[in-house]
Structures are given as C-alpha cells and as structure tokens.
Amino acid sequence: MATNAVVVERPAGAGWSRAGGGLARGIATAYLSLVVLLPLAALVWSARSGGFAEFWHQATGPEAMAALKLTLGAAAVVTLVNAVLGTVTAWVLVRDDFRGKSVVNALIDLPFALPTIVAGLTLLALYGPGSPFGVDVAFTRFGILLALLFVTLPFVTRAVQPVLLELDEEMEEAAASLGARPFGVFRRIVFPNLLPAVLSGVALAFARAVGEFGAVVLISGNIPFKTEVSSVYIFGQLQSGNGSGAAAVSVLLLAISLGVLLAIGGFRRWRTRYDRA
C-alpha cells in the first residue's frame, strides 16, 4: 500500500536517547500520570466507593439510562452520516476542481477551532425559535444531531483526504477500461483503499459525539428522558452534589465508548492485516 509510509523501527536511538532518554521518559510518564491518569483514577475510585451494587444502581438509574441510550444513539447516527458525507466531502475536495476550493478546504477546520459554546449559541439562534429559515429544532433530538454534526464535521474528511490524494488513479482507469461502471469502480477499487482512513475518522467522530457538551447544552434544552444527553446529566449530578453518582455514570459511559473504539480499531487492523507484508 502506498497509503502509509512503512517505517522500519530501528533499535536504540541517537545520542540523546541514551543520555537524556531516561529523563525524557520520566518527565513524560510523570506528567501524564499527574495530569491525565490521576483524575481518572480518582473518578473510578469514587464510582466504586459504595460497592458494585451501588455503582450499578447509580449508573443505570432510569434517567441515567435514558440519557445513555440517547447519547449512544445520537452518536451512532452522527457517525454514520459523517462516514458518508465526510468521505464525499473529501472526494469533492480532492478530485473536483472549482473556484474557491482552497477556501472551502480551509473552512473544514473551523469546527476544530471554534469554541463549542459559540457553535451551540449560533445553532440555537439559526435553527431554534425565531429562526430566519423558519426551522425550529431547539429542544428536540434533531437539534442534538445538528450540534453533533457541526462539531464532528472535520474528522472523517481530514482522515480520508491525504489517502485519497495518494491513491493512484491508474487503478480506477484500469477498472473502467475493463468495463466497470463508475459505482463499481468506487465500490471495488476506491472504497477498500479508503476504508481504514474512514474508520480512523469514524472513531474520532464517535468519541467526540459521545462526549460533547458545549455545543449540545444550549440547543438540546436538557429535558430529562427526552433530550438530556449523558454529559449534561453528569454535569447536573455534579452540580447537585452527587459526585459519586456522576462518577458511576461516567465510568459506564467511558467503558462503553472505549469498547466501541477498540472494536473499530480492531476491525481496522483486521482489514489492513495484509498491508504490511
């Protein structure tokens, strides 16, 4: 495959890794432990502090469960939409040519850069009550989907673009000259080559959609059992002083989303298992 530069790992690095390697490793490990791992450990510790039965009771209460189902369902829908539209967007940006393409290409990064609360605010103004388009999706599940589509827009496109750029068009021409129709060429030649990149983007988009807070909190209205997603539920529990309940829901949500991410990663590795011969 020409998609990933195969780099042979060499044993032992240059000088600094002998002299400074231990120090670098120490700093890296200490920083990650202090900033990332310690708060997560405190979270898990707090979730299990009342015993497993209490953890399960808190994590699967009716309101928490409703939020969890909504969160995972919305994330799944948004991820699927992104898989299709993100790939199509990458295709248009790489293979098509039109005036202003570079501007459009630059705009793709905007959701990475725009603070999520600003995104939520403007989406509510545009597609909420008093919408200039006459579309009101505020306080509905559709509003949640819209907010999630905004924040996850770049992931699949940015993952697929570089792979599509390097993809050899001769393969497609060969298939076409042998009588394959355009859709056949896409399905048999292009799609299999893009799939690993699509899956990488999909994993990032899914993780983002499951955890999103700022963009969703305004437009969803946070109605329990209806439009309350898990991150908002967790935030509410924390604000009302139920830290261990919030931790229980968080741990369950993290376990599920890490499971999904591992499954996507595993599928990706399985698909590319012959690539590095």
Binding site: A5, V7, A14, G15, W16, S17, A19, G20, G21, A24, R25, I27, A28, T29, Y31, L32, V36, P39, L40, A42, L43, L85, V88, T89, W91, V92, D96, F98, V104, A106, L107, D109, L110, F112, A113, L114, P115, T116, I117, V118, L121, T122, L123, A125, F150, L153, R208, F213, G214, V217, L218, I234, F235, L238, G243, A246, A247, S250, L254, L261
Partner: protein
Amino acid sequence: MSKYLLRFGVLGYLALVLLVPVGFVFYRAFHNGFAHAWHAVTTPEALHALWLTLLIAAIAVPVNTIVGVILALALVRGHFAGRGLLNAAVDLPLAISPVIVGLGLVLLYGRGGWLGALADDGLKILFALPGMVLATMFVSMPFVVREVVPVLREIGIEQEQAAETLGAAPFQVFRRITFPAIRGAVAYGVVLTTARAIGEFGAVSAVSGNIEGKTQTLPLYVKAQFDGFDTSGAYAASVVLALIAIAVVVSLRFLQPKER
C-alpha cells in the same frame, strides 16, 4: 452531471451546517451597530474573562508544547516497557468527555478527595486558576504529540547519529538536527493546542465555579450572558472567540506542510 450533483451537495451541506452558523454570529453581534458590540465586549467582566482565558492558554500551551515534544521523543525514540501504555494514554483526552475530565478533577481535589487536603494547606485548586489550568492542560494535551510523532518517525535517526559521531552533545543534536526537522509539526500542534485551550467549555466549567469577574473564562462568559438574557453581550464575546478561531484556521493553512 453526477460531478455537479456531488459538488453542490457538499457545498450546500457545508453552507448549512458550517458557514451560515459562523457568519450568523457576526451578523447578530453587529446588527445593532459596531459601537454597541464594542461596548458589550469592553465591560469589566468581559475584559476580565478575556484576560483569564489568555492567561490560562499562556500557561497550558507552553507546558503542553514542551512536554509534548519530550513525550513524542520518548514514544518514538525510546524503547522501554510500558511504551504502548504511554502511547494509549496520550490519546485518552480525545476519547473522554470534557465534563468527565472536570468531574475527575473535582473528585481528586475536592473535599474528601485524595488531594483534597491541599485546599486546607492554602493551595486552592478547585474554583481557582490552578484547577482551570489543569483542566485545560488535560484536554489540550494530545495535539503537539500527535503532530510531532509521525514526523519523528519519518526523519529517522541517521542524521542524529551522524551528528553524534562528529561529537555533538545530546542537547546539541536536538537543537541543531532534530528540532529544525520537527519545527513545522510543533507549530501546527501549538496552533491546535491554543485553539482547544481558548475554547474549552465543559471541563473548565465543571472546575471553575463560574464566578463572574473571578473564575469566568470567555466561553463561560458567553454562556452566562446568554442565560442572563444579555444576548448582545453573548454574541459580542462570541465574535471575539470566532475571530480567534478564524485566525487559527488561517494559520493552519499557512503551516500546512505539503499543499497539493
């Protein structure tokens, strides 16, 4: 024909989901006139929120840049037990909800937490600057590492070894050989880190206590003004954040390593 269908389909989707909403922020902020918007962002509370946002970024971004480069070097050049684990830990912040990050910090540094006693010793973490900085460092940690790692892989170690054979000290090798090669990637990572640090909402709002004029960053200020029915204040502050975002997007384009 299908070419045009795809092109205009994609452009239409991007316009509806992306361009119109961002443009609308500017329209709403300025439709009562520039002076009105200027007045709304120069209130003491708004200026303090902006200052606090920049201060947090000014602490979190350099730390994450320096540690990010060190982490990338350790991950690519080092060979030690637990490297895979370290690699996975770097990506964790991308997979965790910001609210959960904030919750973890509250449970760690709050009353009854493992490090909750720090507050009794006079070192206030929660509802104060240190907690907000920690939350921001957590969520913006992966970007420099993820940009630098692939570049380090690609440049290999021949040049570093050559410099070393010629008698360069380890730090000299880094300064003269390794750093010039990864400079572009570091810059790209710094821009992404800055964007995330300035815009963070969920994690910071969980730990900040959201005290106006004290622990309110600009994104928190936007939400507070909106909740308090001061929509012109909310949009004016949003414009400041959107301008920062646009500056980020433009600089990403200029830093793009290879353009077709």
